[in-house]
Amino acid sequence: MGIKIDALKCTGCMACEMACGYHRDDGFALLSSCIVAYRTREKKDYFGVLLKREEDLLIARPEGTEIRRLGETEEEADSGKEQDASAKPMLLREACDLCEEMEIGPMCVKFCPVNAITEE
């Protein structure tokens, strides 16, 4: 089982990020979420979702999904490329565990109001 993200459906609402933060911290916080709505290119209206997994970073862009090995992402983030500015803080966070201990299932899937995240 995994998580599939359709970034074109996404409205950038951050509910998934807060839902994951709740799963991590048992309160409302964004610091530990392993899924984030990336939103640093506000004036360009370019947004999507990043998901940290065990081995890689899934970048759900409007034009399609990209998968980066964590090492590769780290090097690029360190080089200061704008492209991956949102990715760097993700490297320190725990990877998605599919909310295995949560009774209601994957929190981000449940709380996405537009069903942009689904289980596959």
Partner: protein
């Protein structure tokens, strides 16, 4: 106040740059619940300093649907009484997590300043380098100086600095719900704005139950008539202007939502790039995020093309001008072209119409939207005032509150009780609303 709160009220004396902190009293929350109701009380307590109060709703920034809103409360230069406007997008959320539930800004500074609020710390900071800059350049400058692109701002432009009647406090780069000339008040206090960033944690007394109830309400919303609707276009159609939806459609890029809000109330239009392009554009400023339906309709009424109307909105946002007031005053002055309008924006003066009772911002259309019409019954004005009061107390996105009967007062009271361990009775809400609207 242990739960759903940073337990801090910040008092800033702009005259001396002194910053003090109080705890948030649980008794006050038990009596007034939160948001604008408590902000009004703080405004009255500090009346001698002609304060501006920034507040979060009791549920702002939680997993309960549409908890995107924080608020600005002050004696409005437009209405002459205490009025309240919402702060949405991700700015309302960031206020909540930056470490204070309420911020009271009293007095006036002699030199330009801004308040930098981050992780429970607040500093009155020199703003001489951005005084004279427009809203966009100021937000850009603060993000660059502090090295964080996710800093959220409340900021004024030239209009507020110059004391324009129609000056508006903007959110980051975009129009806000400020129809009350709070931008003029910021300018008079030499307050260029506030910048927020925070990584706080909000605890709920019974978090699993809070989350379960939030999810039940969200699921109801997902099955409601709102499913599949989005953006300013559908909003305009729901408000009785279907032709404006078609007029806007060719330049629409994408729709986006304020924090945790199930309906995307914002629409980005591309003015200098192909709206159909979904890859990231090379143009650093391809267009504009339309956050204010009333302002857009105002320019539509003048007879501009959608692109011209959005260019005017962009100019308003850069200057920090209330677009709806600008459209109304431009029409009254006989301005009919986009260039004439943009050239005269900074010289506009006068009072625009404020629909409603002047307590809550008519940035949220003063009517029920979509399926809420049935709930509003025979007295939509009274329904709207109460609906706004409820959303301004709990921190619900006001436009979403006006379209979503699935968010009931009963749910809000229940989830607030679960989250705080305070028992909120319907009579408590009635009293808080009466205090707010009376």
């Amino acid at each position: 106040m242990d739960y759903l709160s940073a337990d801090k009220v910040l008092i800033v004396d702009l005259g001396t740059s002194e910053v003090t902190e109080d705890d948030l009293s649980e008794d006050l929350v038990a009596e007034k619940i939160g948001g604008a109701a408590i902000a009004k009380q703080l405004c009255e307590e500090h009346a001698d300093g002609n304060p501006i109060v920034i507040s979060t709703g009791l549920l702002t920034g939680t997993l309960f649907p549409a908890t995107a809103a924080s608020f600005i409360t002050a004696v409005s230069p437009v209405t002459g009484k205490i009025s309240h406007c919402p702060v949405t997008l991700k700015v309302g959320l960031e206020i909540q997590y930056s470490g204070f539930d309420y911020i009271v800004l009293k007095g006036a500074s002699e030199t330009p300043v801004f308040l930098w609020v981050h992780d429970g710390i607040a500093d009155v900071t020199d703003a001489a380098d951005v005084w004279g800059k427009d809203v966009w350049d100021t937000t850009e400058s603060w993000r660059k100086t502090m090295g964080d692109d996710l800093i959220q701002t409340l900021v004024i432009g030239k209009a507020g600095e110059d004391g324009s009647d129609i000056a508006q406090v903007c959110c980051n780069y975009w129009a806000s719900g400020d129809r009350f000339g709070f931008g003029k008040l910021f300018g008079a206090k030499k307050l260029k704005g506030l910048a927020f960033r925070g990584m706080g944690l909000l605890e709920a007394a019974d978090a699993p139950e809070f989350v379960e109830l939030s999810l039940d309400v969200l699921e109801e919303i997902k099955e409601s008539g709102l499913a599949g609707t989005h953006g300013i276009g559908d909003l305009m159609a729901a408000a009785g202007h279907p032709e404006a939806k078609d007029w806007l459609a060719p330049i629409v890029h994408r729709h986006s939502a304020c924090y945790n809000t199930p309906y995307a109330t914002n629409t980005f239009v591309f003015l200098d790039a192909d709206p159909k392009q979904i890859e990231e554009t090379d143009n650093p400023e391809p267009g504009f995020l339309v956050t204010d339906m009333g302002a857009l309709l105002g320019f539509h009424k003048i007879g501009l093309s959608a692109a011209e109307a959005c260019q005017c909105l962009k100019a308003c946002a850069r200057y920090g001008i209330d677009g709806a007031a600008a459209a109304e005053l431009s029409l009254a002055a006989g301005k009919s072209t986009a260039s004439e309008i943009q050239e005269s924006l900074l010289g506009l003066s006068g009072k625009a119409t404020v629909a409603g009772a002047g307590t809550f911002s008519p940035w949220c259309p003063v009517q029920p939207l979509f399926d809420a019409a049935e709930e509003a019954g025979g007295d939509p004005s009274a329904w709207w005032e109460r609906r706004m009061a409820v959303s301004y107390i709990f921190g619900i996105h006001p436009i979403f509150a006006a379209m979503c009967p699935e968010i009931t007062e009963e749910d809000l009271l229940e989830v607030a009780g679960i989250g705080t361990e305070i028992e909120f009775a319907p009579e408590t809400l009635d009293k808080a609303i009466a205090g707010l609207t009376g």
